[in-house]
């Protein structure tokens, strides 16, 4: 009931804010852990907008997609944390500016 009181656009605005926070965090933070958390934040912002649109248009596809995203995010978290640990063991730092091996 209360759920209907809040207009859909508020959820979308919240989603956009969360996504922007995630992007900004991704760009400005140097710690790999924080960057990783920012990615999770972006994923959840997208999830929120999926759910909102699904509710607005009464389409269950959006809800299903969210489960997919969460599942992939869980897997990604496991792999990503493993990579982070491996990097830390190899280089003793998690500063992304020092992890620039992709440069030729």
């Amino acid at each position: 009931m209360h759920f209907d009181v809040v207009p859909d656009s508020w959820y979308l605005i919240l989603s956009a804010l969360l996504f922007t926070l995630g992007v900004v965090g991704f760009l400005i933070k140097r710690s790999l852990i924080t960057v990783f958390m920012s990615i999770e934040l972006m994923l959840n912002a997208v999830n929120l907008s999926f759910v909102t649109f699904a509710h607005e248009w009464h389409a269950v596809k959006g809800q299903i997609f969210v489960f997919f995203v969460m599942m992939v995010a869980a897997a990604e978290a496991a792999v990503g944390l493993a990579i982070i640990i491996a990097i830390f063991r190899a280089r003793a730092t998690l500063n992304v500016d020092q992890i620039d091996l992709m440069k030729l």
């Binding site: 991704f26 760009l27 400005i28 248009w57 620039d100 091996l101 992709m102």
Partner: protein, 678 residues
């Protein structure tokens, strides 16, 4: 009744010899190389002889066409076959090529016996026979051109046989380049033929000409002149004759086969083959006649003062080819081909005899160092004598009949023809003189070779051999007569030089003329009037008298030891100098044509063209690529945050343009519609 002549075997047999000797010849023992080199040309000669026997017994109708490998080129309306054809002209040429060619192969076994690269020599010689038979057997101009270029290649390889000698390598290159100029004319001529007739087949062009009896001059003249340029290159006529004297750098049998008997006559053959077009263009005919007559007398004057025995013969060849051109120019093609045949006999003989002399003297080619060889080389002497009398045109030797026929035909052609006849007659005088000069200088008087000892002997010819000790033992004696493998061909050719002209006795060149007339048309004189025939005897007598005068003058100057020749040279130093330096033609060509071309190549094409334009543009392109790469390299920082920032900026830009575009109404994708559309 269909009889298969197996024409395709004629070129392919020598080709097989070329392949065998060319690929594994270096590992075969010498006798086996000789066997292979002789067996295949002999087999080809046998095929030709069988064809000739069938033709002469009227078992087969000419022209006989054989399509060996189906269609060669088909492009639009252009259609060219791998067709071989045998007609009277081709048969005559084939008999000369394979017959004289085989004799010269035998001779080579003796002459080249001591040489390194024996197998290489014979594989080239067989390759030459392959291309030459292709040239005369071809049923269209393009296939003929293949043979035409091929004999040029074989000639190049054989002139440069002693490729470690700089002059030989240069002579080969000169021959090739000068021939390319002529070939250019030939190519243009073929294009013009295609433009007019849409085909290159001889029979179809002949048919096209027959359909339009009124088609004269204009484009046909241009076509004929282009083909004549090709013929001038191959047959060493003015102004493209300069390669032939230098071609004497090759081994002497090569000079006999390629640069006297067969390849250089390809131009004459081509004009006889093209007679349908030449006949329609009086201008082209006149040009051919003038080229022929001019070349004949021009080369003969140079031959007067040459001291190298092979060079005298080379200029003599050019001069005799001029006679053949003269014959073609007065539309007496069968007379020209008749002279071609007799010339093949006596000039091959002269070259081979000269080779025998050179061989006997251990590589000496300077006539001033010869003399008195009559007793030491008796067989060579008598063979050479037959050749000299034949080329001088003294009855009843071969050269008399053919040269006389050409001069007689020229005489029938009005004032223009009479002046040509006069030039020809003077040339006959000069020919007789320089040939008897060669004869006297070589075989009479006393031996002027002061350096005849074992050390000097054998140095030039056998210098390449690595078995020096054996050779010195073998050549310990001084001047020696050649082995019978060399003398045998000489004797046969001497006999042919004697009797070879008899087949042309009678009205319209006798049996030979009547046979050939079916392919190249009858002689103009036998078509025109009967009144001319009374002139034939007086003209012949005049020609023989002129030849005898030449003999007498040569005897006066060189028959006994005297200083008349030296005094004459001193009396007219300018003229003598001019002749001795061959009119400075080589020097003039070098200054006027070769050097400007070299300068243009070096500076305009080399510096501007290749240096500035080609290399410059390559550098420019490379510079642009480097510059952009340098700029874009900075983008690829390897910094994770920089990449993600660009990613985010890109996503934001796409979003921005989509939204702004929709809101402003200037395009873009409205995401609402995407969803609603479903």
């Amino acid at each position: 009744m269909t009889i298969n002549l197996y024409l395709w075997l004629i070129p392919l047999l020598p080709f097989a010899g070329f392949l065998i000797n060319g690929i594994i010849g270096s590992r075969l023992p010498k006798p086996l190389v000789s066997t292979v080199a002789l067996a295949f040309p002999l087999a080809a000669f046998a095929v030709v002889a069988r064809a000739a026997q069938l033709v002469f017994s009227h078992s087969i109708a000419l022209p006989y066409v054989e399509n060996v490998a189906g269609s060669w080129i088909t492009a639009g309306t252009l259609h060219i076959d791998f067709g071989l054809a045998l007609d009277q002209l081709t048969l005559v040429m084939l008999l000369v090529i394979t017959g004289v060619g085989f004799l010269i192969h035998i001779y080579s076994v003796g002459y080249m016996g001591h040489e390194e690269g024996y197998w290489r020599y014979f594989s080239y010689l067989n390759l030459f026979l392959f291309f030459m038979t292709i040239l005369v057997l071809a049923e269209n101009y393009l296939l003929m051109f293949v043979g035409w270029e091929g004999v040029g290649l074989a000639s190049y390889l054989l002139i440069g046989f002693y490729f470690d000698r700089k002059s030989a390598a240069e002579a080969g290159r000169k021959a090739f380049v000068v021939n390319r100029i002529g070939d250019f004319g030939f190519l243009i001529g073929m294009f013009l033929l295609l433009a007019q007739f849409g085909t290159l087949s001889f029979s179809k062009i002949g048919y096209g000409l027959a359909l339009n009896p009124a088609y004269h001059g204009r484009l046909l003249t241009a076509t004929a002149l282009c083909l004549v340029i090709g013929a001038c290159g191959k047959s060493a006529q003015l102004p493209l004759y300069i390669w032939l004297p230098d071609a004497m750098e090759g081994p002497t049998p090569v000079s006999a086969l390629i640069h006297a008997a067969t390849m250089v006559t390809a131009g004459v053959y081509m004009m006889a083959r093209t007679h349908g077009i030449l006949d329609r263009s009086p201008i082209a005919l006149a040009v051919v006649a003038i080229i022929g007559a001019t070349t004949a007398i021009f080369a003969a004057t140079i031959a007067l003062v040459q001291t190298d025995i092979k060079r005298v013969l080379a200029y003599s060849t050019i001069s005799q080819l001029g006679y053949m051109f003269l014959g073609c120019g007065v539309a007496a093609y069968s007379a020209a081909v008749f002279h071609l045949v007799t010339h093949a006999f006596f000039k091959a003989l002269l070259f081979l005899a000269a080779g025998s002399v050179i061989h006997g003297l251990g590589g000496e080619q300077d006539m001033r160092k010869m003399g008195g060889l009559r007793k030491k080389l008796p067989v060579t002497f008598w063979c050479m004598t037959f050749g000299v009398i034949a080329i001088a045109g003294i009855w009843p030797f071969a050269g008399f009949f053919s040269k006389d026929a050409i001069l007689y035909e020229a005489f029938q052609q009005g004032t223009f023809g009479k002046s040509l006849w006069f030039v020809g007659l003077v040339t006959a005088l000069l020919t007789s003189f320089y040939m008897f000069r060669l004869w006297f200088l070589t075989f009479f008087g006393e031996n002027r070779n002061t350096a005849t000892n074992a050390e000097y002997h054998g140095a030039a010819v056998h210098a390449r051999s690595d078995t020096k000790l054996v050779l010195e033992a073998e050549h310990a004696h001084a001047i020696h007569e050649s082995p019978w493998s060399m003398l045998g061909p000489l004797v046969i050719l001497a006999a042919l030089s004697f009797i070879g002209g008899w087949m042309g006795i009678g009205e319209g060149l006798g049996p030979f003329g009547r046979f050939l007339a079916q392919a190249v048309g009858p002689l103009p004189s036998s078509v025109a009037t009967e009144s001319g025939s009374s002139l034939e005897l007086p003209l012949s007598i005049v020609a023989v008298i002129v030849a005898l005068i030449g003999l007498y003058i040569a005897y006066l100057f060189y028959g006994s030891k005297n200083d008349r020749a030296a005094r004459l040279a001193a009396a007219a130093p300018g003229a003598h100098n001019l002749l001795e330096h061959k009119y400075w033609i080589d020097e003039i060509y070098t200054t006027v044509i070769v050097q400007p071309v070299m300068l243009i190549s070096r500076y305009v094409l080399g510096w501007l063209g290749e240096g500035a334009i080609i290399r410059g543009s390559a550098w420019l392109l490379a510079g642009i690529a480097t510059l952009f790469g340098e700029l874009l390299r900075r983008w690829q920082s390897g910094n994770l945050r920089s990449y993600s920032a660009w990613l985010a900026a890109g996503a934001a830009a796409i979003l921005f343009f989509t939204v702004v575009g929709v809101v402003m109404g200037i395009g873009g994708v409205d995401i609402r519609n995407v969803w609603m559309g479903h």
